[in-house]
C-alpha cells in the first residue's frame, strides 16, 4: 500500500468534494417544481453575489427556503452517519457495525414518540426529545457495556443490541396500545425522512456538532489504525486504548444521535459508505474518515434527490432509496474487489 501523504488525503477529498458539488447542483435542479439549469445558475449567481433583490419569489420560496436547506441537511446527516459508521466499525472491530447497532436510533425514536404523544403541537419538541432519547441510550449502553471498568467491544456490542431490541419492542408496544393519531407518521420517521424543515439556528447547531464530534474521531484516526490489529498490540505500541475507545464511542454516538434526531433512522448509509470508501481509498482511518464524510453526503443528497423525483410529487422515504440504490452498488464493488 502506498504511504499516506497529506497530499493524497487532500486530493482524494477534493475529488469527492467535486463530485458532491455536481450532485448538489443536480439535486437543486431536481424536484416537484422544475427549474432549468439556466434559471438555476442565474438565480444562484444573484444569491451568491448579493443581488438577492433580483431573485424571483418562486426561486426564493422553493430553492432558498425549501430545497437548499434540505440538501444542506442531507449533507450533514449523510456525513454524520458515515463517520459514525466508520467509527463503530473500528470500535467494535466488526464489519457489520452501523450507527444504529448500539440502539441509539431506537432510543431517539422512543424519545420522538413520547414527544409526539405529549406535545404534538410543539415544533421543536420532537428533535429535542429524540436527542435526549439518543443520549440516554448512549449512557445506558456505556454502563452496560463496560467490563472491569473499561469498554469491551464484545460486551458493548451485546449490550447495545439487547438495548436496541428492548427499545424497539417498547416502541411497538406503545404504537399498538396507544394507536394515537399523531403517531401515524412515525413509520416515515423510522425509515428516515428529510422532508421536515428545521429552523436555521438548529441547522447551524447541527453543523457545529458534526464538526466537533467528527473532528474528535479524526484525532484518533492513527490510533484506530493500530487498534484494528488488536487491542493488546495497540497497547504495546503505546496507544491509550481506553481513551481512544471512549472518544470514538461518545463521538460516534453523538453523531448518530444528531442525525437521527432531525431525520429519523436513515438506513444503510452508515454501513455501506465506509465500506465503499475502504474499497476505493484503502482502510487508513486518516483518509477513511474524511472520505466517508463526503461520501455519505454524496449518497444521501443523491438518494434524497431521487426520492423526491422518482414518483413526484409523491415522496419516497429517503431510507428506502438509500437501501434500494445502495445495495447493488455495494455488491458490485464487493464482487469486483474479489474478482
Amino acid at each position: 500500500m502506498r504511504p499516506l501523504t497529506l497530499r493524497r488525503v487532500l486530493w482524494s477529498c477534493a475529488l469527492l468534494a467535486a463530485v458532491l458539488l455536481g450532485i448538489v447542483l443536480l439535486a437543486l435542479r431536481l424536484g416537484a417544481v422544475p427549474f432549468s439549469f439556466g434559471d438555476l445558475g442565474q438565480n444562484l449567481w444573484w444569491l451568491v453575489s448579493g443581488q438577492s433583490e433580483k431573485i424571483s419569489t418562486d426561486f426564493r420560496l422553493i430553492m432558498v427556503d425549501i430545497r437548499l436547506p434540505r440538501i444542506l441537511l442531507g449533507i450533514v446527516v449523510g456525513a454524520a452517519l458515515s463517520v459514525a459508521g466508520a467509527g463503530f466499525q473500528a470500535l467494535l472491530r466488526n464489519p457489520l457495525a452501523d450507527p444504529y447497532v448500539l440502539g441509539v436510533s431506537s432510543g431517539a425514536a422512543l424519545g420522538a414518540i413520547l414527544a409526539l404523544l405529549a406535545a404534538p403541537a410543539l415544533p421543536l419538541m420532537t428533535p429535542a426529545a429524540a436527542f435526549v432519547g439518543a443520549a440516554a441510550t448512549i449512557a445506558a449502553v456505556y454502563f452496560l457495556g463496560r467490563r472491569q471498568g473499561q469498554l469491551d467491544s464484545g460486551t458493548l456490542l451485546l449490550a447495545g443490541i439487547v438495548t436496541a431490541s428492548f427499545l424497539s419492542a417498547t416502541i411497538m408496544f406503545l404504537m399498538t396500545t396507544l394507536a394515537s393519531r399523531d403517531l401515524r407518521g412515525i413509520a416515515f420517521w423510522l425509515m428516515g425522512d428529510l422532508s421536515v424543515s428545521l429552523p436555521r439556528g438548529l441547522l447551524w447547531l447541527l453543523i457545529a456538532g458534526f464538526f466537533a464530534a467528527a473532528g474528535a474521531i479524526l484525532t484518533t484516526a492513527s490510533d484506530l489504525n493500530v487498534l484494528l490489529a488488536g487491542e493488546r498490540e495497540a497497547m504495546h505500541l503505546g496507544v491509550d486504548v481506553t481513551r481512544v475507545k471512549l472518544v470514538v464511542y461518545i463521538s460516534a454516538s453523538v453523531l448518530t444521535g444528531l442525525a437521527v434526531s432531525v431525520s429519523g433512522a436513515i438506513g444503510y448509509v452508515g454501513l455501506l459508505v465506509p465500506h465503499v470508501m475502504r474499497m476505493i481509498f484503502g482502510s487508513d482511518y486518516r483518509l477513511l474518515i474524511p472520505t466517508s464524510a463526503i461520501g455519505g453526503a454524496i449518497t444521501i443528497v443523491l438518494a434524497d434527490a431521487l426520492a423526491r423525483t422518482v414518483i413526484a410529487p409523491t415522496e419516497l422515504p429517503v431510507g428506502a432509496m438509500t437501501a434500494m440504490a445502495g445495495a447493488p452498488v455495494f455488491i458490485y464493488l464487493l464482487r469486483r474487489r474479489l474478482a
Binding site: 416537484a32 420560496l61 425549501i66 430545497r67 415544533p123 407518521g185 416515515f188 425522512d193 410529487p313 409523491t314
Partner: protein, 334 residues
Amino acid sequence: MIAPPVLCGAARPQSVPKENVTGSASRIEVKDETGRVIRIPQPVRRIVSLAPSVTETLFALGLGDRVVGDTDFCDYPAEAKQKARIGGPVNPNIEAVAALHPDVVVATREINRPESVHSLEQLGIAVYATDPQTVEQVLTSTERLGELLGAADSGRLLGANLRRRLSELDRRLAGLPAKSVLMVVWLDPLISVGRNTFLEDALRRAGARSVIDSPQSWPTIDLERIVRLQPEYLIISNDNAQQVQRELAEFQQRPGWRRLDAVRNRRFVVLSEAISHPSPRLVDGIEQLARALYPSQFAAGAEFVGDPLLNCRAFVIAPASRPPFPYTRSGGCP
C-alpha cells in the same frame, strides 16, 4: 357534475366572516380545531387540501374552484382528480404545496402529520387543521370552514340540510333496538373502530352498535373476541368491487371467521367509502347503513337524498338463499 342537489346555493355571493375574528383587514386571526392560532389572508382564493375528507368538504361547500391542489388519494368528487397533486396525506411534498402559493392549506389531524404542518408554517403558509371526532363535529367543522374560507352561506345551508337529514333518520329509527355490528376497517390485522371517533358515532346514528368498545381510536382486535361477541352484521366500507369480493370470500373461508353467525347467515353490509371519511358525505354513508339495517323503516316512497350513485354502487345484504356474493344492486342505476 355529481355534486348533490343540496349544494345549489354554493354559487351565491359570499360574505366575509365577521364574528370570532380579529386582526387587520387583509388577514384574520383564528384558532384552528387543534388549538393553534393562525392568520388566514382574506379573501381566500387559493386553497390546498392535505386530505381526501378535506377535499370533499371543500367541494361540498362549493369551494372546488378555489382548490388549487390536493393529495394523490383525493378521488371524490371526480373533479378533485383534476387538481394539481401534492403527494400523499402522510408525506406531502412541501415544495409542491409551496409552489401553488396557497392562501391557506387545510389539513386534518386524523391523517396528516404534525411535522408537515410545522414545515408549512415555517414557510409562512397558514395551515388550518380540522379535528372532528363526532358526526356533529364534522358538521360544525364544515360550517366553520365555510365561514373562514368565504362560503359562509353555503356552509350554513349545507349544515342545516345535513342536520335535517340526520333528524329525519332519528325519527325513523326512534325506539328501535340498535343492531350489533363489527366494523371491519382493516382485515390483516383486524382493525375496527373505537370510542371517540366519527365513525363510531356514525354507526350509532345509523342504528348500529359496534361490538368493540375500545378507548383506542382504531384498535387491533383479536378474532377470538369477535367469535365470543357474535355481531349480527359485518360491515365493510370499500368502493373497489374486486377488493370487496376478495374480502367477502376471505370471511367465508377463514377458519375463525367461518364460525361467526354473521358470516354463516351472510349478513354483510358493504358500504361505500362515504362512511369512512369525516366529510359532509358521511351523512350519505349513515343513511346508506340505516337503510341496509332497517329496510322496513324506509318505505318505497322514501327517496335516498344522498349521492344517487351511492345508492346502487353500494350494498345489499346477501340472504342465504342467494348466490354467495351479490353485492351490487342491479337495475335502476345510472
